[in-house]
Each structure stands twice: as structure tokens, then as C-alpha cells.
């Protein structure tokens, strides 16, 4: 457990591993709204200039060493915002450092073996872990959850539809970004490029809502990918099913100014429809609509989004006011996402050859 005890009235200290656009445009603005309970004390990035610049914005210590951040007694909560491939080892290191809680950006691991290691260390150390699936902390979603009654049992169709402008549009509304990853021109004649794009689509974009999908999919372990379309310049249309559920995932990232982020769970007599606000900007919560027959109940908008919600939850867990989330639920979410990603990539070869489509008809 924690090696130090913060005074009761002192905000919890936050250390951030990785100071890229997500940290700059999402987490720091969210934390700026929670200064009474959380305070950024240490920022680490492999690029010392970025670490220094971002840390200076919030008066935090800057560094390039994860070990130094984990050894900082001012850090109660560690946020892991590094590239995906580092997540598992950093989560484990943060747990072993005896911090009060760990926030890991999604996905928290890239395979089942990593997930099992994390689960074991979390159980051994007792350090709670939250995965940054922000929509599961969105007040609109949480209000729907409180009110949907037996809807999860009667749902037969689930849809996640995401239409987004390039991230830079909303990053620039949220902050003043320093350095962005270079954007290339993908060669979509190369099947490996398409596979990589689809893998990234599932594990980097669809994964935001896959925990919501799984909430309505009791037989999620029997997921089957029916068909995959790669959408240019970036996106996907993936048709899935389980023995009891139909799941359709759609995403388009283009140059539009108009974001649409929608989740639907549909049964014979009731539906849930949620419109989420775009990431990066502090645009309040999702609005959830539950319809039974011809009557609808609307929940939201509330004043904060899921990112702020996850930080509030993290603080409450670190302070012992809320129980830690189930490690098994996090592993199940990850397993579900990995199964979809793997099957999607496997289907990409057929898609590339377009053999399946040539079997169809035209009009």
C-alpha cells in the first residue's frame, strides 16, 4: 500500500507516465477541474523537453525516468498514458511501487498473458487499477445504468457508431499541444497496412465502447466476426454476433467538423440510445435516452464527461471511499476486445482480395 500518508485535506498527488496529446489535451484539462481533490506532481516522458514543458504547465516535477516517478512520495496515483506496448509493464511497476491507485489508458494490455500478469500483481499488492474506458464513467451512461432495469436481458441488437474529425481538431480546442505524432499516407494496397489499421481501429477506437457492448452481451465469450470492411481513410464496419446478440460496429474518421458518437442497445420493446460528447473537450456528459414502447426517459446532459468521471472515481477509490473495480471485469473487457481485434485482422486478408464481395450481386 502507499508508502506515505497525505493529510486528509491535501489533494492526492498524480504522476503521469507519457506526456503526449492525450495527457495534454484530455487529462490535464480534466484534472484542472478537480484541483480540490487531485494535483499533478510528476510528469514523465521519454522526451525530456516535452516532459519539462508539460510539467511546467501544472507546476509538477519533470523527468524521463519511470522509476523516479514511482519513487516520488508525492505521487499517490499513477496515470499510464504511454504507447500501448508499455502499458502492462508500467501497470505492474506502479502496483509494485505501492501506489494508492493506477489509471491505465486503454488497452491496459495487448494480450491475455499480460492481462493475467497484471491481475496477479494487482491481487498480490492490493493496488486498485482503473482502465481509462471513459464512457463507462460518463454520468449519462451511469444514469442509464441506474434506470435501464431489465433492458440488458432483452436486448438483441447493439450498435456503436463513431464519426470523428481528426484528433487535432478537438485537441486544439482543449489545449495548446506541443508535438504531435507525424501523420503518414498509408499504402492501402498493402494488406499488412490494412491489417494494422483494423487492429488499431479496434484496439484504439472501438475499444472505447466495447465495455459498453459487453455489458449487454452475456455470452460475449462466443463472439464471432461475420464480416469486416476497412473504411478509408480510417475506420471500419464490423459485423459481429454471439448466439444471442447482433453487434454492429461502425467508425469513420475523416475531415468532417461534425462528431457523432452513438451507442445503441435495442430489444423488442425497449431501447437505449446514447449520444456521447467528443473526447478532448470539456463538453459535459453523454445524453442517454431509454425508450419503452412510445415513452422515452432522457438522462443528461450532466456537467462533466467520462474522463473527469474516471478521475473522480479514481480519487474516491484511492481515498477508500469506493471499492476497487473487479479485476476480472477488466480482464473480460480486454479479452473481448482482443478476440474481436484478432478475428477482424484475420478477416482482413479475405477483404483485401475482395473475394467475398465478388461473390455478391450488383444492381
Amino acid at each position: 500500500m502507499s508508502q506515505h500518508a497525505a493529510p486528509a485535506d491535501r489533494p492526492l498527488g498524480v504522476g503521469i507516465l507519457g506526456a503526449g496529446p492525450v495527457t495534454q489535451a484530455i487529462h490535464l484539462p480534466a484534472l484542472a477541474r478537480l484541483q480540490d481533490i487531485l494535483e499533478v506532481r510528476h510528469v514523465m516522458d521519454v522526451d525530456s523537453a516535452i516532459a519539462s514543458s508539460v510539467a511546467a504547465r501544472v507546476g509538477a516535477v519533470a523527468g524521463t525516468s519511470m522509476d523516479a516517478l514511482l519513487a516520488d512520495p508525492g505521487v499517490d496515483i499513477v496515470a499510464i498514458c504511454s504507447p500501448h506496448q508499455f502499458h502492462a509493464d508500467q501497470v505492474i511497476a506502479a502496483c509494485r511501487a505501492g501506489k494508492k491507485a493506477v489509471l491505465c489508458e486503454k488497452p491496459f494490455a495487448m494480450n491475455g498473458e499480460e492481462a493475467a500478469r497484471i491481475s496477479a500483481v494487482s491481487a498480490e499488492t492490493g493496488v486498485p487499477i482503473i482502465v481509462g474506458a471513459m464512457h463507462t464513467f460518463d454520468p449519462g451512461w451511469l444514469a442509464a445504468e441506474q434506470n435501464w432495469g431489465d433492458l440488458p436481458e432483452q436486448v438483441h441488437t447493439i450498435r456503436s457508431s463513431i464519426v470523428l474529425p481528426p484528433n487535432a481538431r478537438f485537441e486544439d480546442f482543449a489545449t495548446e499541444i506541443i508535438t504531435r505524432p507525424a501523420a503518414g499516407q498509408p499504402d492501402y494496397t498493402d494488406i499488412e497496412v490494412i491489417k494494422s489499421a483494423l487492429q488499431g481501429g479496434v484496439m484504439g477506437l472501438a475499444i472505447h465502447d466495447l465495455p459498453l457492448v459487453r455489458r449487454f452481451t452475456p455470452d460475449f465469450e462466443q463472439i464471432e466476426v461475420l464480416h469486416v470492411f476497412h473504411v478509408r481513410p480510417f475506420g471500419y464496419a464490423i459485423s459481429l454476433k454471439t448466439p444471442t446478440r447482433v453487434i454492429e460496429l461502425r467508425a469513420v474518421m475523416n475531415s468532417t467538423w461534425k462528431p457523432e458518437w452513438m451507442f445503441e442497445a435495442i430489444g423488442d420493446d425497449a431501447t437505449l440510445h446514447i449520444d456521447f460528447t467528443p473526447s478532448y473537450v470539456q463538453a459535459g456528459s453523454a445524453v442517454a435516452t431509454i425508450t419503452r414502447g412510445a415513452e422515452s426517459s432522457i438522462f443528461g446532459p450532466y456537467g462533466h464527461n467520462g474522463y473527469e468521471g474516471e478521475w473522480r472515481e479514481l480519487a474516491a477509490i484511492a481515498n477508500g471511499h469506493r471499492p476497487a473495480p473487479s479485476a476480472q471485469a477488466l480482464i473480460d473487457d480486454l479479452t473481448f476486445a482482443l478476440a474481436i481485434a484478432d478475428a477482424t485482422v484475420a478477416g482482413a486478408a479475405a477483404l483485401h482480395g475482395d473475394a467475398a464481395n465478388k461473390a455478391g450481386v450488383s444492381a
Binding site: 461475420l226 467538423w257 464481395n357 450481386v361
Partner: protein, 276 residues
């Protein structure tokens, strides 16, 4: 003053085509025929159930000048088209969604088809969802769904059924520019029946929401681009009335609609797809 056309409808067509209320909304043009003999009317309304093309051909032989087919299911129309041409009869198809004037309107009016045509060259995905009540005949629903998509988006390539079950179906294929399209049906009593068509392009797209024709609630067509978002003028006219109004114009002008030509394209596609 123009003549008023007398109308007779089969018992099946009355509810399927909302004949009485539609005729009542065009009272200066159409009125009920006296008596019950269909052959005496200028316009015959028939239901689009199995065998409707043969029935329509017989009606033309009986001397009708105009025919409205309420919600026709896909069938081969070549013989009917030839009979209509030979007799100079106007055959108008009253399609559940595709006849909505917001999809294909008057030549000078902006509509969904024009908006989609402008967008198809840069399309990246067409995603459509049709909603209908539980228990709906999926095969019939697919015909209605594809009719709306063909009306708005034009040719569809490589179309195939990806799944079908008691809750709906998913169909996939490609647009003319190679971009993928998906068309899903969802059966639920918790949403109004209708069809949504979303065409996404490099910088925006076209969004179409078409309601059922049992009331005059308007379809909504929104065009998104660098200019912002434009809502096309809303038309508080049901698909039924739009079809009848087209018939009126053809009867007055002595011209013939091309409904059957377009419907043949739907039939060719539909004949190869099974969702039941």
C-alpha cells in the same frame, strides 16, 4: 378546369395504400368512382402482393389510364411495362420509403438523391438502418430498404446478405466508387419504423431519415460539409401522396413515369438475396 379522375381500389389496396385519406388530400384531382365495378374508373389502385404485375396488366387491358401499386414487392415488370407502353397507361409505384418526395422530388427541388450524387465520388462509407416492428416479413422489408437505397445512392455492387435472423438482417456491398456499404434491419417496437441512410464522405456527408408513410411527418435530409450543415426543406407529405401527385402530373401531361424501369433494377438485385 381540369377533369377529375375517378378512382377505384381493391380491398387489399385500401389499407396498404391509405387510399381514402390520400385521395382526400388531392380532392380536386381524384375522387371515388361510382359503383363498385373497377373497370369503370380512370385510376385503379392495387396492392403490391404476389402477382401484382399480372393484375396490373389485366387492369391496363381493362382500360384504366392510371394505376397505383401500393407497396409492391419486387417482381419482374417487363411484360407490364410493355403493356403500359402499348396502352399509354401510367403506372406509379407507391413505395413505402422510396416514394417519399424528400428522396426523389421535383426536378427543381433539392432532394436526397441530388445530395447523394454530389457526395458519392468522395464517399467512404454508406451505413443504413431500417427499423420495423417485431414480426415484420424480412424479405419484404429488404425490398423496401433496397428500394430506398437505390433511389438515393444509385448502383450497389457485390451485394450479399451477411446475416439474417428473427431480429433483422445485415447486408453489405460496395458503392460505385468502391467504398463499403452496410444495410441493417432492426426489429423493435420501441422505435418508429423508418429508414436512416448515412453517407459519409471525406469532409462530411448526407444524412437521411425517412419515416413510414402512415402520416405526413417529413423526412429529414441533412447535408454536412465545410459550409456547415444544411437541412433541406421539410416536406409534410406522405410517400403515398407523393406517388399520387406524380400520377396526377403524368395524367395531366400525358406522359408516363419511369417507375417500372427503376423497379426492374431492384428486382434484379432482390431476386438474388434471401434473408428468411
Amino acid at each position: 378546369m381540369n377533369a377529375r379522375y375517378t378512382v377505384s381500389a381493391t380491398p387489399e389496396a385500401q389499407p396498404a395504400g391509405a387510399v381514402s385519406q390520400t385521395m382526400a388530400s388531392l380532392p380536386a384531382t381524384f375522387g371515388p368512382a361510382a359503383g363498385t365495378q373497377p373497370g369503370a374508373a380512370d385510376v385503379l389502385v392495387i396492392a403490391g402482393g404476389p402477382g401484382w404485375t399480372a393484375e396490373a396488366t389485366r387492369v391496363i387491358a381493362g382500360g384504366a389510364r392510371g394505376i397505383v401499386v401500393a407497396n409492391p414487392r419486387p417482381e419482374a415488370t417487363a411484360e407490364l411495362a410493355a403493356a403500359a407502353d402499348a396502352a399509354g397507361a401510367a403506372v406509379v409505384l407507391d413505395l413505402r420509403w422510396a416514394s417519399n418526395a424528400a428522396l426523389v422530388g421535383e426536378a427543381a427541388d433539392p432532394d436526397a438523391r441530388d445530395a447523394a450524387r454530389s457526395a458519392l465520388g468522395t464517399a467512404s462509407l454508406l451505413d443504413s438502418v431500417a427499423t420495423a416492428a417485431p414480426g415484420t416479413d424480412l424479405q419484404r422489408l429488404l425490398g423496401e430498404h433496397l428500394a430506398a437505397l437505390l433511389a438515393v445512392c444509385g448502383p450497389l455492387d457485390g451485394v450479399r446478405v451477411l446475416r439474417a435472423d428473427a431480429t433483422g438482417y445485415t447486408v453489405g456491398g460496395r458503392l460505385a466508387n468502391g467504398a463499403p456499404f452496410t444495410a441493417q434491419a432492426v426489429l423493435t417496437a420501441a422505435r418508429p419504423a423508418g429508414v436512416d441512410i448515412n453517407l459519409y464522405t471525406t469532409d462530411g456527408g448526407v444524412s437521411v431519415q425517412v419515416p413510414d408513410p402512415d402520416a405526413a411527418w417529413p423526412a429529414e435530409v441533412r447535408v454536412t460539409g465545410t459550409h456547415g450543415e444544411l437541412l433541406l426543406p421539410t416536406l409534410y407529405e406522405s410517400a403515398h401522396r407523393s406517388a399520387w401527385r406524380r400520377l396526377k402530373e403524368h395524367l395531366r401531361a400525358g406522359t408516363r413515369p419511369d417507375d417500372l424501369t427503376g423497379f426492374a433494377r431492384l428486382n434484379d438485385l432482390y431476386a438474388t438475396l434471401a434473408v428468411t
